[in-house]
């Protein structure tokens, strides 16, 4: 019997696993996808929000602000790109200035430092913003993060500290048994004393397997444009319009890989696996973004994508034990600002909720760090020269656009966290994320995967089961 089973390996499940790995416990993570962080945690704005925006007193406000404070150290430990570039919430009409004041007040209540800027100050910081700008609210603690490695490295660190991860296993049923639960997946049956439901969009379905619930999770889609790294400094902060009941609005930001992100839209959809994009929605995203930044070079577009928010009917994060089952803990409805909140949520769940039902004892030898990821493209010339000389595979380039070498790919393939698909390689290393979208590097990545796992190239998957790239040997 496991001590604890975590269902779902998104940001929440991964940080739960990492936090639990600090304690003497026997933890299993079950994830239906072929990779960690393969659903909402990979398709979002990746903003480490400051926390000025959530209603004071809510869980969203609390965990956002706490999470934000934890980010610098965690990203250092986990070797994740994080840049505290600050955000600007931009007023483009005179009457919006009073709203900014209210937001600043709210920030104060949430414990978030803010500063009101005049139009001139904004334009000096952000020359590409509309000349109609009337002022903005600066939140210096906001930042951007690499969402792909955030989740992956948190899980890797958990595995290095003893957590077990089973990918490609969907939980189908949960039964109460003596001293805990029996968890059935489509592959096997497990038992655990405590179960934590971190199943994102499907946390409602999972929760219902144990007892009736009063809340619902409704998928709300956000569609985006990704632009190439055409020019550093096109925008320097995360730029938000004023928030509305639909959320934080269409933002324009750079990413930690110096791309630019424009989005998201906000629309409820029927299906929890509908990640399609729609030209009309995107056109609207573009129009709205252009009100704030008029000259966005959309010909630099390299991709469009969408993510689904797990929007709870309760309007706040649901982080509590099931009503009749204190050793079944729901961590549900974690929509934005869920990514930034994830380390704080994990800490709370473990220290307050798990500890109430399972005795927690700190390990003596917990290691908070992952093995350093080496990226020659980020090194200084002399350093790179010496390193590549000593490690020749780092001189063999695979991905032209993002400069990823064979050495980096073999590195991620050799870690404790499984890296099974072309997409997993892409999320770990960025190979295929550039303007040619894998046109040059995908065959090389595919062959490296086949070689590493000793299987036929025909068996290599892009992502999910059935997503093979090669269908047949040629004549």
């Amino acid at each position: 019997m496991f001590d604890i089973i975590i269902i779902g390996a998104g940001a929440i499940g991964s940080f739960l696993a990492r936090t639990l790995s600090q304690y003497e416990s026997n933890v299993l993570v079950l994830e239906k996808e072929n990779d960690v962080g393969n659903v909402t945690s990979m398709a979002n704005s990746a903003i480490v929000h400051s926390g000025y925006d959530p209603v004071p007193g809510t869980k969203k406000a609390r965990f956002n602000v706490e999470g934000n404070r934890m980010f610098p150290e965690i990203c250092e430990e986990l070797d994740v790109s994080f840049r505290q570039i600050g955000s600007l919430t931009v007023a483009i009409e005179e009457k919006q200035l009073s709203v900014l004041k209210e937001l600043a007040e709210r920030g104060k209540k949430n414990g978030v430092p803010t500063k009101m800027l005049t139009a001139e100050e904004v334009l000096a910081m952000e020359p590409n913003i509309t000349k109609d700008v009337k002022g903005a609210l600066l939140c210096p603690t906001a930042g951007i993060v690499n969402p792909f490695t955030l989740t992956a490295h948190a899980m890797e660190n958990a595995i290095d500290n003893g957590v077990k991860l089973h990918l490609g296993e969907a939980v189908k049923a949960i039964k109460k048994i003596n001293g805990g639960f029996q968890v059935d997946t489509d592959v096997a049956t497990y038992e655990a004393k405590v179960v934590i439901n971190a199943a994102g969009l499907y946390s409602e379905e999972i929760a219902k397997m144990v007892e009736p619930i009063s809340w619902k999770i409704n998928p709300r889609k956000g569609e985006y444009y990704v632009l190439d790294h055409f020019r550093p400094g096109f925008v320097n902060h995360v730029l938000f319009p004023l928030p509305s009941e639909k959320g934080k609005g269409i933002l324009v930001t750079s990413t930690t890989s110096d791309n630019y992100l424009v989005g998201p839209s906000s629309e409820f959809v029927d299906e929890k696996d509908d990640f399609s994009t729609d030209p009309l929605t995107l056109k609207d995203v573009r129009a709205q973004a252009s009100l704030m930044v008029p000259n966005i070079p959309f010909p630099e577009q390299i991709r469009v994508f969408s993510g689904l928010r797990a929007t709870p009917s309760t309007h706040d994060f649901i982080i509590e034990p099931a009503k009749k089952n204190p050793n079944f803990i729901n961590v549900a409805g974690i929509e934005s600002p869920g990514l930034v909140s994830s380390p704080a949520i994990a800490k709370y769940v473990v220290e307050e909720l798990v500890s109430a039902v399972f005795p927690l004892k700190k390990k003596a030898n917990w290691n908070p760090s992952v093995r350093k990821y080496i990226k020659p493209s980020e090194m200084k010339d002399e350093e790179r020269e010496a390193f590549v000389k000593a490690h020749p595979e780092y001189g063999e380039m695979v991905c032209n656009c993002e400069q990823v070498s064979v050495g980096e790919i073999k590195d991620v393939l050799s870690r404790s966290l499984p890296c099974l698909t072309i997409k997993a390689v892409k999320k770990r290393t960025r190979a295929g994320f550039g303007k040619c979208q894998g046109g040059f590097c995908q065959p090389k990545v595919l062959m490296l995967l086949a070689e590493h796992y000793g299987i036929s190239p025909l068996e290599i998957l892009y992502d999910k089961e059935g997503s093979n790239i090669l269908l047949k040997e040629s004549k």
């Binding site: 990640f275 994009t277 063999e396 040619c436 065959p443 025909l458 999910k464």
Partner: protein, 422 residues
């Protein structure tokens, strides 16, 4: 490691090889070609079909044969090259940094640089195809690479978006490999491929070509399951009610090529509307001693034209190294006018120019019975009648220097004008 070279050529495809040979013949002996691939020849390695060399070698060759000739020429001259070597950046001081397995990370202090790194394919991300993003939506060149270099087929039931030549050639190749090619959709009302390819690759195999159609939706949670095509209106938007659905496992994209000009973009050098660098008549960019030619400058439909352009760049690099290519303040700007997409060059330094200046461009749409009009400072200096002119074929007009009548600055506009009907 730091080494020194007079001329570094980035990319050993047809442009790089031809430029190297020309520079050598013009007196430059210290040359290094840096090529990222495992052999010279670049994209031509994928072109095992024929249709090359008619201009350059006066006989019809396959792509592979064509570059073999260029390689033999450069080997005769003993031109140095590195394979599997990737250029990571160009410094402001014209240092070229490359990395490979054997040497590690190398800085080459260059006196002149020719950029000839080729192009990449427009892909699904760039056009944001509506619907899902499953496996099985792949560029034609990538499918070609999997087939020719690795020996695998990406699909058994294939639809093709875009009638570019690579797509058409792949339609035939996949059919020969036993795949079923269901059709080709082209958003424009005309094909972008060479006529010969339409006949030999589609008509001969009974593959329908849907002109003025695009893919309006893609379905597939993991692998491609089906696509929908629709007719488009003049604004190229899908027309409701014209949808047709095809079940297929592969959507090949042959929707255009884009200069892969990152390294020069990173230097902040200005670009033209071709998305390649801004160059003058000697293919020199806005940075002294840095030249560009081939598909990284603008996409060519004939390798022969690439070679011709690369020779200009190679000779110019030699002149530059011999201090015989001064910059002058007075320049003639070349601008695309009505109906013209871009021009190469973007400016002419008349004092340096040869007697005839080749001006290259593409028209925006197929036009019958029209003139290409060259207007210099408001005055028409040349008019060429064209029975038909199409975007898929690059135009080259040699403009005699004396037409500028010694005027060294101003604006030359290239436009398409309809034939006047009296």
């Amino acid at each position: 490691m730091v080494i020194e070279k007079d001329l570094v050529i980035i990319g050993g495809g047809s442009a790089g090889l031809a430029a190297a040979n020309a520079a050598y013949d013009s007196g430059v002996k210290s040359i290094l070609i840096v090529e990222k691939g495992p052999f010279l020849g670049g994209i031509l390695n994928q072109c095992i079909h024929n249709g090359f060399g008619l201009h350059e070698f006066k006989e019809e060759l396959t792509g592979t044969e064509f570059f073999t000739r260029l390689t033999v020429e450069s080997e005769k001259r003993g031109i140095e090259y590195r394979l599997n070597s990737f250029v990571t950046k160009i410094g402001e001081d014209k240092s070229v940094y490359y990395t490979n397995k054997e040497e590690g990370y190398v800085r080459v202090k260059a006196k002149a640089i020719i950029m000839s790194a080729g192009c990449y394919e427009r892909n699904a991300g760039a056009i944001g195809i509506p619907g899902d993003r499953p496996a099985g939506v792949i560029t034609a060149g990538q499918a070609q690479l999997y087939m020719n270099e690795y020996g695998y087929l990406v699909g058994k039931k294939v639809f093709i978006l875009g009638s570019g030549d690579i797509g058409l050639i792949m339609a035939r190749r996949m059919s020969l490999e036993g795949a079923k090619v269901l059709g080709v959709a082209e958003i424009m009302p005309y094909s972008n491929g060479l006529n010969r390819n339409i006949v030999q690759c589609l008509e001969d195999y009974g593959i329908p070509l849907y002109l003025h159609h695009t893919v309006s939706h893609v379905w597939g949670k993991s692998h491609l399951e089906k696509i929908e095509i629709s007719e488009v209106n003049d604004a190229l938007q899908p027309i409701k009610g014209t949808e047709q659905v095809f079940e297929c496992d592969t959507l090949l994209l042959s929707i255009g090529l884009i200069p892969y000009n990152n390294l020069l973009n990173q230097l902040g050098l200005p670009t033209s509307r071709s998305r390649g660098a801004w160059v003058n008549e000697h293919m020199e960019t806005k940075m002294d001693g840095v030249f560009s030619c081939g598909n990284v400058l603008h996409v060519h439909d004939l390798a022969d034209n690439v070679v011709a352009e690369a020779k200009v760049a190679g000779k110019a690099a030699a002149l530059y190294l011999q201090n015989k290519l001064p910059r002058h303040e007075e320049l003639i700007l070349v601008e695309p006018g009505d109906g013209v997409g871009y021009t190469v060059p973007c400016e002419i330094d008349l004092e340096n120019a040869e007697e005839k200046i080749p001006v290259k461009f593409r028209v925006r749409k197929p036009t019958k019975e029209c003139y290409i009009t060259y207007t210099f400072n408001g005055e028409v200096i040349k008019k060429i009648y064209k029975q038909t002119i199409i975007p898929s074929e690059m135009e080259i007009d040699p403009i005699p220097k004396d037409l500028f009548k010694g005027e060294k600055s101003g604006k030359l506009v290239v436009s398409l004008t309809p034939k006047e009907v009296k």
